[in-house]
């Protein structure tokens, strides 16, 4: 039974206010958003910060719903992904992790690097050029999620792709939302 206490202590020491692991759908997205909103409301967080956190959360959650690859390993298929929010004195941390097929890593990395190399003005221009030229993909995305997270948070996106066996990596994303304006 120790793992319960261990998990609890980890969550406390990492200042996690919400952890969800499992299947992600629009319905779970709505539930997670409303839980997080209640938490931010009861903590008396400033509304401008709340909006930014909400913003980044929506894009991160809908990215998982739309782009997480189904893990197929022998007889096991899984959609399991993880979503976490941490609150420290100076910032919120919105984190997500989901399996993606290895052949999709290079393209994703390139997109994230491009975004991290841009300043505020550059991100605005990129946003405007994508929104003018994009069409909504089959999966329902506009290709603007990461750009928007970078713009709303005002910070660089942190990411990593640890390997999961032969065919998959686990795409880990971390976005900071500063608590001071």
């Amino acid at each position: 039974m120790n793992f319960i206490y261990d998990l609890h202590r980890t969550m406390m020491s990492e200042n996690l206010i919400l952890v969800y692991q499992g299947d992600f759908t629009q319905e779970t997205t709505k539930s997670i958003l409303s839980m997080a909103e209640r938490n931010l409301d009861s903590s008396g967080e400033e509304s401008s910060i709340k909006r930014k956190v909400f913003n980044v959360m929506v894009e991160a959650l809908q990215n998982i719903v739309k782009h997480s690859d189904e893990l197929v390993d022998g007889a096991i298929t899984s959609h399991a992904a993880i979503f976490l929010i941490g609150r420290q004195a100076t910032q919120y941390t919105i984190m997500s992790g989901n399996p993606i097929r290895k052949e999709n890593v290079a393209g994703l990395k390139e997109k994230l690097e491009q975004i991290n190399n841009l300043d505020k003005e550059g991100l605005k221009e990129l946003y405007k050029s994508i929104i003018k030229n994009t069409t909504i993909s089959e999966k329902g995305g506009a290709g603007l999620g990461f750009v928007d997270m970078a713009r709303k948070s005002g910070t660089k996106l942190e990411y990593d792709f640890p390997e999961m066996g032969n065919d998959y990596c686990f795409f880990c994303l971390k976005v900071y939302v500063p608590r001071e304006n």
């Binding site: 929506v58 894009e59 405007k128 929104i131 329902g140 603007l144």
Partner: protein, 120 residues
């Protein structure tokens, strides 16, 4: 012309498009699972309205939040409105919501329609 009236939900905005009473408004939150599907009737309504539009139209956006997939569809809505004479956009934002104000400014740079900015 028929009224398009959709109640808002936790992930879709309230829509009220009423030619006879001169009410044209999209308000609330927009983060539907399928934004293209959600906005299709709005775009169809606007296409029909364009053929028999009032001499002047004040189209109100009073959004609390929208996701990126909705932002593309909002641009599609604005592009459809662009072709209608006498069109004006009333862009509302909460007084401390700089991001929503900036979003409106960016949309105004992407289409040729006069925007008026208001706080609520």
């Amino acid at each position: 012309m028929e009224i398009l009236n959709l109640e808002g939900t936790e992930d879709t905005p309230k829509i009220m498009l009423d030619k006879n009473n001169g009410i044209f408004e999209i308000s609330g939150r927009s983060l539907p699972e399928d934004s293209a599907e959600f906005y299709r009737p709005v775009l169809e309504w606007i296409a029909a309205y364009g053929k028999e539009a009032n001499p002047e139209t004040e189209f109100v956006f009073k959004l609390e939040y929208f996701n990126t997939a909705s932002s593309k569809l909002i641009l599609d809505v604005l592009s459809a409105l662009e072709d209608i004479d006498g069109m004006k956009i009333m862009w509302y934002f909460h007084e401390d919501d700089e991001d929503m104000e900036e979003a409106g400014q960016e949309f105004s740079e992407l289409v040729e329609i006069p925007f008026e900015f208001k706080t609520y």
